[in-house]
């Protein structure tokens, strides 16, 4: 323990001795307040910054720095500019993009935030930054039995990593329960109930870093979908058919030993505290023909509640999920076409649908969304508020001649904050809808012509 603190002190001293990296503009953070929410397995950090321009030229943007492990696990960064005071606060979303800095110390990653209007010299602006980390809670012990509670490590820095000088900062960490095994104490740090407070720290130089480890109990369901393939099939005859293939795991401490069903059912509060057996999926409001099945067949343990704003499907896999266990299943449903397909002013059609996974509080490691456009669609084009990998495929389905174009959107590390609408544009001439009935009509006509030929052809050998 003493050796660990010694190592931390050396690392802090090394970081503080590095000369301050001078960015293009001279900014300084006057006040920073960080709130880290560790209640679920998705770590949410809220940063309230008051940035001042101490240079002589106006600053149009600022950089947010993240440590190399955090950059890998970062699912989303959002920034809002706060204007107005107290009751009349308005929040304006700001543009946040990943940035590359050539001389970044120790592989620090950066995100660039562009201000609404360039910050003049001597001016201050208040920002609120939200960033979400996935896979950041490390279970320790790595394996637990059925009757044990799940304890996890959270690695972070008590001092906010920033390329700018921070005058005053405080960090609040919220844990899901009052059981905290240990936490690194960097003075002044204290713990009260479910909250650990680090700070206030005064006048920290840029790139100062004070690693802390918090070891606490987290029994929230660590629902991780390893792979999700969502197929949205558009049919101009009136419906949108969505099929979702899930591969779900429990991403927490692995289960060791036997699974005793007797213990699990009799002492439910103690046995399998970190396991989960039910999940909630939020579906569109006017949904019908919902099915929930897997390779074996239909799974009947589900409840569907339709509503005006949304529908909720509460479903249970065939067995409760403990650490390291997997469940594979398919959920499918149909929604009316007029809720999601629109015509733009330039004549093109577009599908307006929600990205992401319908399951609540779930991380998706690899998400693939396939939008199957009807036969005869041309020039498909997808618009999303964040970067995804786009691709085109061809799918052969009912009554197809040339096949249907499929727009494939692929994204890794998806969290529920990614459930925002996206659009897929395409051009389609309504006359192509007649291709399908024309195929059926010609098939029947061929049968009639064949019977006509049979009746008319004279196969007699003898002359009449």
């Amino acid at each position: 323990m003493a050796a660990r603190i010694g190592i931390f002190a050396v690392v802090v001293a090394v970081f503080l001795s590095i000369p301050a990296f001078s960015s293009a503009q001279d900014l300084q953070i006057v006040n920073a307040e960080r709130r880290i929410d560790l209640s679920s397995h998705i770590v949410k950090d809220f940063l309230t910054l008051k940035v001042e321009n101490i240079g002589i030229s106006p600053a149009a943007e600022m950089l947010l720095a993240f440590s190399p492990t955090q950059i890998k696990n970062l699912a989303m960064v959002q920034a809002l500019a706060i204007t107005g005071k107290k009751k009349k606060k308005t929040y304006l979303p700001l543009d946040v993009k990943p940035a590359e800095q050539p001389d970044a110390p120790n592989d620090t990653g950066y995100y660039r935030v562009t201000f609404v209007s360039p910050l003049g010299p001597g001016e201050t602006v208040s920002l609120e930054v939200l960033y979400i980390l996935t896979n950041s809670l490390e279970p320790f012990p790595v394996e637990i039995t059925q009757s044990e509670s799940q304890l996890v490590y959270y690695h972070d820095s008590a001092v906010i990593l920033s390329p700018y000088h921070v005058k005053q900062q405080t960090t609040f960490v919220k844990t899901p329960s009052t059981r905290v095994e240990s936490f690194t104490s960097i003075e002044p740090a204290n713990r009260a109930g479910k909250e650990i407070k680090y700070g206030p720290y005064e006048n920290r130089a840029s790139y100062s870093y004070a690693p802390v480890i918090i070891h606490f109990e987290n029994n929230s369901p660590f629902a991780v979908v390893e792979e999700l393939v969502r197929e949205i099939e558009i049919s101009h005859w009136g419906s949108l058919q969505i099929t979702e293939h899930y591969r779900l795991t429990h991403g927490g401490a692995r289960h060791k030993g036997v699974f005793s069903r007797v213990d699990y059912q009799s002492k439910r509060s103690v046995s399998g505290a970190s396991s989960f057996n039910a999940l909630l999926a939020v579906l569109p409001p006017r949904v019908n023909s919902v099915y929930y099945r897997d390779d074996i067949g239909n799974i009947s343990t589900s409840h569907l509640r339709t509503g005006f704003r949304k529908s909720e499907l509460e479903f249970e896999p065939r067995y409760p999920l403990f650490g390291g266990w997997r469940a594979t299943f398919i959920i499918g449903y149909r929604v009316p076409l007029e809720d999601y397909l629109f015509e733009a002013s330039d004549g093109r059609r577009y599908l307006n649908f929600t990205f992401g996974c319908p399951l609540v509080e779930t991380i998706v490691n690899k998400l693939t969304i396939k939008v199957v456009l009807p036969e005869g669609s041309k020039d498909p084009y997808a618009i999303l508020p964040f970067t995804v990998n786009q691709d085109l495929q061809v799918k052969y389905s009912y009554l197809d001649i040339v096949g249907r174009t499929v727009v494939v959107l692929q994204k890794d590390n998806v969290v529920p904050t990614h459930n925002v609408p996206f659009q897929v544009y395409y051009t389609f001439k309504p006359i192509y809808m007649l291709a399908e009935p024309f195929m059926l009509v010609s098939a029947f006509f061929f049968v009639f012509v064949a019977s006509l030929a049979y009746v008319h052809i004279d196969l007699n050998i003898a002359r009449k």
């Binding site: 049919s235 101009h236 058919q241 397909l341 733009a344 389905s397 006509f445």
Partner: protein, 76 residues
Amino acid sequence: MAAKPIASPIPVALYPTLSVFTLAIGLVITAIFFIYETTSSRKNRSLGKELATSAVASVFLGFGSLFLLLASGVYV
């Protein structure tokens, strides 16, 4: 941007009714066609009449089977 929702050209609620009626009419015309085939002799058979009847029958049967597919949930 004008967001005009696009719906099916035929109201979805009409699919089952439409399929029953178009298939019924199609089958009746098919029956007329085959009755004509069996009751007429080789001399007074008119190819034009046969082709016309079979064309109309296949149109009704084709659309009827399309509406039947749509009504049963196979949105082609």
